[in-house]
Amino acid sequence: MLQASFTGFFGLAAIWFAVVVFRTHSMVRSALALLFSQAAIGGMFLAMQTEFLGVLQIMMMATEMAIMAIFMVMYMMDPGGLGGMDMTHQKRASQVVGVLVALAALAVAFFTSWGPIASEVRPAQQVHDLGIEIMERSMLIFETAGVTILTAMIAATAIAIKRRGKE
């Protein structure tokens, strides 16, 4: 019961912060609201007793959102939010897509058989199992993802470098 209420609380917090992301006019507030939204999702993970995922989520999101804050401020005109710029675009389309995706997510949540709920959770065992999973069955997935990200980083860096001799 306690667990469900905490999960619900974090879920609502995540939604609320996500709304703030789009309602606020300040870029930096928007980025940090996104951070806290993701951190709330991490909190949900923790409430659902998936400790590693929760901690990982909280950790990664802090750094990622800070980077996003930098980019937002760098490239956008009004980081302080004084101009009252509207943060939303393509309202119609996004509303439709949002509703559709929400319905799809609910369908997946309700109609999938998730298997039995673990009666006893030992976090250390979870970490161990996760590690084995990554290294054995899902290794190909993670390796591919890792190499893809690395390639993207290198490509982005290469594009950003001023070409010598052309300037």
């Binding site: 930098i70 401020v73 005109m77 980081p79 302080g80 101009g83 982005a156 290469a158 950003a160």
Partner: protein, 668 residues
């Protein structure tokens, strides 16, 4: 009661707090800690911590006679200090517009020590008092005006809406003629920013706004009226500006807000000032994330860049940056906003933030030096340096000949002896007199002592800028010992210590990397003094003087023309000067030698610690008549702009500091 007490009834707990505050005195020194060292006063030894910003200080410490410009800056700094606060002066006279100092001491160590003890007693007793008075001077007053965020040229005295686009006018402070100095209290722009412009401080406990004369409307955004508890949201200081005889500033001059204002600079007008910082200008500029920016600092107001115009200073022109006029408030990307601006060296094009002040009371720069930077991200796009406002200039030297020597010595408190010798030599050349050998040797000793002390003082400030606390403390301590040294034997001991300091500094890990290539002078620059000698050119006035040649003098020359070579040149010169003092044997400046003949035109050149200074006299009827004075810092002033362009902020500051500018010797 101390002059800056907090308004409250003293009770048991507050008395305890007051006693704690008395033990934890932190001083903000105007013009800077080096001023105290030059007088031979060791502030750390009396238990005063030196604070970088007025915000963290509880005592305002004024050292020496200050010109009006610095006093105004000090007033603004004082207004920024959180109460309870006190004022201590050392060797300063009248300090208006500041209130009467709580303790005034003469520049002797014992007196300062007793003064500080007295100050502690005053603090413990009087930090809280029901009769605390507000501090309000013209220097910190501003007026509000209302401006359209999209159209900065639309300015009104009352709130309303913009005739062009219909948006509501946003309040902003306007300064009356500001004194740039005053704006920068504390020296660091920061204070500006946070300073609440436009409001006056109110009393603690005075929860209503009645304490504010006049500018109540300025409280448009009175952020923290924390009534209820005694902490007051003090919106700081207003800077305002005081009228500078006629400079009409119409709407601008927000000098004050420099820093902040930038941000404020118009949101509507291409704002987002992204100031990238973070560093990155490194070869691999690839990492865009490395460029953090200074985001639009002021997510607040909309002021246009033009307002950064400092009137009163010959115009700081906003260069090629007109503000973008957006006909519509459509989305504008950074690319569009920065069209037309020169490309930044690190490849990341940012909005320019203009007029960020560093000084006149900035901790890492010589006290009194005002450096106004235009920041492009974290890169400096332009810089302008100014000296101390209101300092005496060559015009003030006119008068009877007898007083010339003293007046000239007062011109630059950082090197009085050099100027004294300069005046003496000019007079002697005018009278056709040659000083005898012992006088010459004594003058050499005095001049070299000042040179070594000045370089040590510079080392200490430089250490503070670099974040190298050991150097700051050690060089400062050596400077004080040298200033207090009574005879040449003590100097011999200091010579050994200086040698050790020099070797230790040269072996400091990472120092070379920090300084190499920083502060390179632009092409065609012709500096003087240690700066030119650091570029491989052996220009030294002393090499042409017989006295020095008999003592075996050779100019110290290094290659590199960057901050590192200037550091090594000055380190070597310190040792050389101390060595020369020992050889000369004496360190006094005897009285001028005259032969009663009428004065004719005379001139002299002396190698001051910062470079060659030349004085030409054309006496008329027994008075001084026309004077021409060439000072090294005036020449170096012009080098600042080229030196810092396209450098990262930290490197730019190091470069400027490596020039060892004397803000007293700079032309207005």
């Amino acid at each position: 009661m101390i002059c800056g007490a907090r308004q409250a009834r003293p009770n048991f707990f507050r008395r305890l707090v007051a006693r704690a505050q008395a033990r934890e005195l932190a001083a903000f020194v105007v013009p800077g800690p080096e001023a105290a060292r030059v007088l031979g006063v060791d502030l750390e030894a009396v238990g005063l911590r030196i604070s970088d910003t007025p915000r963290h200080a509880s005592v305002l410490l004024l050292v020496g006679e200050l010109p009006l410009g610095l006093k105004k800056a000090a007033a603004v700094a004082y207004a920024q200090m959180p109460r309870p606060r006190a004022i201590l002066t050392i060797g300063a006279g009248d300090v208006s517009p500041l209130p009467e100092p709580d303790v005034a001491a003469r520049p002797r160590q014992e007196e300062v020590a007793t003064g500080v003890a007295e100050l502690r007693r005053l603090f413990a007793r009087g930090a809280f008092s029901p009769e605390a008075a507000d501090f309000d001077v013209d220097a910190i007053r501003t007026q509000t005006e209302y401006v359209c965020p999209m159209h900065p040229e639309v300015v009104r005295r009352e709130p309303g809406s913009c005739p062009v686009c219909g948006m509501d006018l946003v309040p902003r402070e306007a300064a009356g003629g500001n004194d740039h100095d005053a704006m920068d209290h504390g020296g660091d722009g920061t204070h500006h920013e946070s300073m609440d412009h436009g409001t006056h401080e109110h009393h603690d406990g005075d929860h209503s706004s009645q304490g504010h004369e006049g500018q109540d409307e300025a409280h448009s955004s009175h952020v923290d009226m924390d009534h209820g508890d005694r902490d007051e949201g003090h919106e700081g200081m207003d800077y305002g500006g005081h009228d500078q005889g006629g400079a009409s500033h119409g709407e601008h001059d927000h000098m004050d807000h420099m820093g902040m204002e930038y941000a404020s600079a118009d949101e509507g007008d291409s704002q987002a000032n992204p100031g990238g910082n973070g560093g990155s200008e490194h070869g691999a500029h690839g990492e865009p994330e490395g460029h953090d920016e200074h985001t639009g600092m002021r997510h607040g107001e909309h002021e246009s860049h033009e307002h950064m115009d400092h009137n009163g200073y010959g115009g700081h022109d906003h260069g090629g940056h007109g503000h973008m006029d957006h006909g519509d408030m459509g989305f504008m990307s950074m690319v569009e906003m920065t069209e037309g601006l020169p490309r930044s060296s690190d490849g990341l094009q940012m909005e320019w933030v203009e007029g960020v002040p560093f000084g006149p009371l900035s901790p890492g720069l010589p006290g009194g030096l005002t450096l106004t930077l235009t920041l492009d991200g974290d890169t400096v796009a332009r810089a302008e340096a100014k000296g101390v406002e209101g300092r005496p200039t060559a015009e003030n030297l006119a008068g009877p000949v007898e007083e010339l020597v003293d007046r000239l010595a007062q011109l630059d408190p950082l090197s009085p002896v050099a100027y004294r010798v300069l005046a003496l030599r000019a007079l002697e050349s005018g009278a056709g007199v040659e000083p005898d050998e012992s006088t010459a040797f004594a003058r050499v000793g005095a001049l070299e002592r000042e040179r070594a002390a000045s370089h040590l003082g510079w080392l200490s400030i430089f250490g503070r800028l670099l974040g190298y606390s050991w150097l700051e403390d050690r060089a400062g301590g050596l400077q004080i010992s040298l200033v207090r040294a009574a005879n040449a034997d003590e100097v011999a001991r200091l010579w050994v210590e200086a040698g050790r300091l020099s070797r230790r500094v040269e072996k400091t890990p990472l120092l070379r990397r920090k300084l190499r290539g920083v502060g390179l002078l632009p092409e065609g620059a012709e500096p003087l003094g240690p700066v030119v000698r650091a570029g491989g050119v052996a220009t030294d006035v002393r090499a042409g003087e017989e006295v020095y040649l008999t003592l075996g003098f050779e100019p110290v020359v290094r290659d590199g023309n960057d901050a590192l070579s200037r550091l090594t040149v000055r380190l070597a010169e310190i040792e050389q000067s101390l060595d020369l003092i020992q050889k000369a044997g004496e360190m006094t400046v005897p009285e001028p030698v005259t032969n009663g003949e009428p004065l004719r035109e005379g001139s002299a050149t002396v190698e001051t610690p910062r470079g060659a200074a030349t004085l030409r006299l054309m006496p008329e009827e027994g008075a001084v008549g026309t004077i021409e004075l060439d000072e090294p810092s005036a020449r170096h002033l012009g080098l600042v702009g080229g030196l810092v362009e396209q450098r990262e902020l930290g490197d730019a500051l190091v470069g400027v500091a490596s020039l060892d500018l004397s803000p007293w010797g700079m032309a207005r």
